[in-house]
Symmetry: C2
Amino acid sequence: MAGSFPLPVFDNKSPLYEQLYRHIAGAIQSGMLSPGVKLPSKRRLCALAGVSMSTVETAYSLLAAEGYVLAKPRSGYICAHLLPAAPAVPAAVPEAVPAAPSQWVCDCSTSAVDTSVFPFSSWARITKEAVYENPGLLQRGHPQGDRPLRTALSELLAQYRGVRCSPEQVVVGAGADYLLSLLLQLLPEQRAVALEDPGYPAAYATAARHGRSAIPIPVDCEGMDPEALAASGAGLAYVTPSHQFPLGVTMPAGRRSRLLHWAASVPGRFLIEDDYDSEFRWSSRPIPAMQGLDRGGRVVYMGTFSRSIAPAIRVAYMILPPELLARYQCAFSHGACTVSRFEQESLRRFVTQGLYGRHLRRTGNLYRKKCALFTQALSAIPGASITGAEAGLHFLLTLPRFSETELVERAAAQSVRVHPLSRYCHAVSPRPSTVVLGFAGLSEQKLAQAAGLLAEAWA
Amino acid sequence: MAGSFPLPVFDNKSPLYEQLYRHIAGAIQSGMLSPGVKLPSKRRLCALAGVSMSTVETAYSLLAAEGYVLAKPRSGYICAHLLPAAPAVPAAVPEAVPAAPSQWVCDCSTSAVDTSVFPFSSWARITKEAVYENPGLLQRGHPQGDRPLRTALSELLAQYRGVRCSPEQVVVGAGADYLLSLLLQLLPEQRAVALEDPGYPAAYATAARHGRSAIPIPVDCEGMDPEALAASGAGLAYVTPSHQFPLGVTMPAGRRSRLLHWAASVPGRFLIEDDYDSEFRWSSRPIPAMQGLDRGGRVVYMGTFSRSIAPAIRVAYMILPPELLARYQCAFSHGACTVSRFEQESLRRFVTQGLYGRHLRRTGNLYRKKCALFTQALSAIPGASITGAEAGLHFLLTLPRFSETELVERAAAQSVRVHPLSRYCHAVSPRPSTVVLGFAGLSEQKLAQAAGLLAEAWA
């Protein structure tokens, strides 16, 4: 047998014993070496393979430890009986060709932010301090997020957004989509979720992934339609009242009150208030959060630093009303918070040292200027009308002489990327001839260029 | 009317206009000011409240913007009709008394790690560089995690664990529990999940939160029982073959092969290989991952840096077989990766600069020493037997002369915290008189002290 023993061709990519071990294990797995077959003695294999005794010994003991071979006292190593492997299919996915760099001269993305004013040196300093000064942060933290950050957030939200909560109610997590997923796990009885139509695609996707039916509810000029909501039969509704995505409308107090009333009028109903874009309001003071008006414990408030700091900072938070907090504490007591504790501590320092407020003021001024510049330039296009630009980092443009497809394609021909409104519509028909334009990620120069190219495209 | 107009008592906690606005909004909301009632003129309110005209103007325009009042040309402001608010319940949860500092002299936790050798200065340097040198990382990244990190991980796993994959198959996420949740969302047809019994409590909790039935499958001295698995009817099984939690057994090749065969023999079956504690093996070389032996694309490989670096580093990864990768790319194309891009880049540098390998060697030597020290000291307790200490950061101790409860309570009386094995058991009866002991988070001195206290407790 030893004469026909399959020997490996060694390369220098990994230790010899490992190559030898893999080769023999593969031969046993493939059936080339049958169960019961005796392996060559260690000394004989040294000679056959031209390797040292320690290489063979290590390979053999590895094979024995894993059960490929059985060590029989005084008679050497015998191949073990393994079940046949399944038919081979390629396990590795071929490498995709790396994506070509963006072909867009201007990308009017709605998720980009301006990173030119990001306080890199403060952030780097804070991050470093957070690591150095808190060795204890290496161990496991509180599943809801560390208490100092939760305290800072509850104070921030009380001051800026009129949210009323204690740090106990705050749950920190890695992004708004994650928190929505977590919330759906807490609400198994809610088989249907009312979502804004047009609305945020990720909310539809998250509902579907949790096996819920997403019920699209039309959005009018004040936000989600309360009558359609009441008629939908859903017990859970998700709204973006500060700056509806994508229509850009702000929900007035009357509508807020009607939605709160909907939630409070039947036990077990909940409203998810995603306070998207609340940090940026151009025409008047921000409207306080619905959560602060909720007297029945029916509102889950959600927010994120993705837009107010940067998409890369994966920190979002939600405020659970007491009933859901109790459920959370039962269901998630085993879990760990999904945000690194160093990053939690960095963010806490950023907020409590006043750097976050300063950053919001700087970016707010910058975005206000950008919004004015871009809307003014685009308004000059004959027939164009702009809506939803009173707040936030995107708006709508309607130009009736072209279809939506024509608007998008003509812009693309000028290398400007704009999003069709229909992309965000589910059951409703989109307002015709309308596109969604984000401006935060483009410099003022780029915005002027984009406006010029769009004026040409849509002439 | 103006005479009976409710005036606020001002404090200096927030701007006057905001206090005025809140006060009037509250009065409208509560019904104290009825719909149709005319508010005092701006000038009159200035005089009544003793505030400036700009304060009143700001408050009124805020009330109008939010729909609390209607501005009637030439006749001033009229209260709007709002639906009555729901009956009041306390919205804020009272602050809990802060938890008392741990009463344990020694906590034999299974999740703690040794942070004394954490390379703080390297990590701080890398973190700072990652921020400074990569401003582009502020924008949104790839949903699966940034490609350079995925490439580094696939190379690391190929080298250390025999995993065969391309960077395309890697999904980075904020912790193993999060990735398990994500995986269940990709597998809606799997209504039942086979889990190890005894086993990892968070896996049971995650399955339940996704509405799946968790089917406990007994673990014997080689790992999950393949016959019980086959009989369970489940199409999805979760195993920890490197160092089963909590029994500490390592699955030999024969058992691995049987489980792979189970997965491959019926279309649609999948095995989740959580390669828990694979970084730490004391008695022989680590056994390569099952994923590397899988020819049918039936294994999802999972790993985390929670134990090899620290629980605070919320970075885990999974390798999806092609079929699930295709599903993932459909279902999660809208999402963002749950790990901060700065942290991804820090980790990539930590791995590719050789710091991770060095850290593993340092902690490995330290843990090996600790494991030897603690098991040796405890073996001296008459009647005590130790199992599962060939790998990983915890083991079992059995001492037949006491019941499990007695072992735990007698240890607690000496201020030593140990976990009862029954805590991790579902349908099986736990091995009697057995506790689970973690040692990684305790210093050598503390381990000696713990062993001494336990010897007294269990005398």
